[in-house]
Symmetry: C2
Subunit: 273 residues, 2 copies
């Protein structure tokens, strides 16, 4: 709504449910060129070869796909403004924000409580945005009003402050990235070592935030879910659209939780392997 | 965006800052007929004679004007769908919701914490809404998804639950209305009885939620503000666009606060009257 029009084209990468929804919404405002899609393989990977047209007004991608468990580990090299939905992995790893012209992220994964969003924009890019759109939807008006165009959701913002203070106190994003790497390595290495489990995602595209796996024998899925439940581990079921299991490893999850889970996995595999 | 188009006209009442902003936004989507305005007298009253065209797709008004301290005490009699912004007086008094086709209200005055809105819609009216607009802006999609089209702001919703339980426990909206009437009567009667104060709003349109007043001698305003501050009363300064003072009497404010304030007013008047 801000950066696309009927006379222009935006380039999008279709690598998951969120990217696919962004494409659907963008088509309401202008022309959309989908540069590549992994939909045919159920988004089990990030498309790895595609050309981004230099005359598109921006290139949009989703950095991490929560449902499918994939993540873009490198920032795409493009010659046009880069726009990213970082909702589910912002502040989980070091990123060169200077490479982006526009970043948006819901707070509810790694920043704070649901109900507020972080937007980081290149001022020059913002200035090229459309006018004549509703005030509440026009990013420039939010900037001009110091993020108080509307009554701010003060509690949600306060939780962000507390979360950011905590993040700073443990050493910032660099320290967090090391912890997140440990968590994901432990989990993926455990899953790979136990033949009872199956990892559907292409290894190079595995997400450090959301690990998706299934059981080689689907009959065992109910038993594993029950074993988790008995140990007080909830929320491990996969999204209904992909099935199996999904372990979310957001910043708030300590390494000790992954240690407990992987111990259970080993125990389960020894009984059912 | 949902109910107006370039081919249709919506009727609006211009009785304050919020209604005026709604008019500005509506003009982006279609034709707007402003049936009456009190802008020339600085919104010191609700326009009292106007005709609402029967061929407009809806009539929009703001039930209470927070900045100017005016309130519509009766529901307008119109032959077309009635749309109301009830943000600042919802749940403060009994209203026949059946008279409305569409009601919207930010939670942050009488419902709960900032960051969530209440929308009450006539299903038949909703069905006539526009399609091809962004999903997040289409009310029907929110209904179809059980108000979970987006990740719900759970804390803000939880505060609404607690506030509504409290409201129910004291006797509901009927009991609240009696308390609000007492608060407003005490405040306005006190102000009218003390010549040092001036009430700029037309008596029949005075708001039961936001009482606006000035000092007959503007020189005394700083002294009164200081007297309030010394007694621990803050937030009494009027909006910068109208000056003077504004006492907000939302549901959460107890009668005892108004008693304390009016006692101070009497004491102040006896010294400066």
């Amino acid at each position: 709504m801000n950066f696309l029009s009927k006379e222009t084209t935006a380039a999008y990468l279709d690598a998951g449910v969120w990217g696919s929804k962004a494409i659907k919404e963008a088509k309401l405002f202008g022309n959309v060129k989908v540069v590549a899609s992994s939909k045919e393989t159920h988004y089990d990977r990030i498309p790895d070869s595609y050309a981004v047209p230099d005359d598109a007004v921006y290139f949009h991608y989703t950095t991490n796909n929560t449902i499918e468990g994939t993540q873009m580990h490198a920032i795409p090299a493009v010659n046009i403004p880069l726009v990213a939905d970082m909702s589910s992995d912002i502040l989980s790893r070091q990123m060169d924000f200077n490479r982006f012209d526009f970043i948006y992220a819901g707070a509810q994964k790694n920043i704070g409580a649901a109900g507020v969003n972080l937007v980081v924009a290149n001022k020059g890019f913002l200035e090229k945005g459309n006018t004549g759109i509703p005030s509440m939807m026009e990013y420039r008006q939010h900037v001009a009003n110091g993020s108080m165009l509307n009554t701010p959701p003060v509690f949600a913002i306060y939780v962000c402050l507390l979360t950011l203070r905590w993040l700073k106190s443990i050493g910032g994003v660099a320290a967090m990235e090391m912890i997140n790497d440990k968590k994901a390595s432990l989990l993926y290495n455990t899953l790979e070592s136990l033949p009872v489990f199956h990892l559907p995602v292409a290894p190079q595209d595995r997400s450090l935030m959301n690990a998706v796996f299934t059981m080689k024998d689907p009959v065992l899925e109910a038993s594993f879910l029950q074993a988790c439940k008995e140990e007080g581990m909830v929320g491990v079921k996969g999204h209904r659209s992909v099935g199996g299991f999904r372990i979310s490893l957001y910043n708030a999850l300590p390494l000790s939780s992954v240690e407990t889970l992987t111990a259970l996995m080993k125990h389960f595999a020894s009984k059912h392997g």
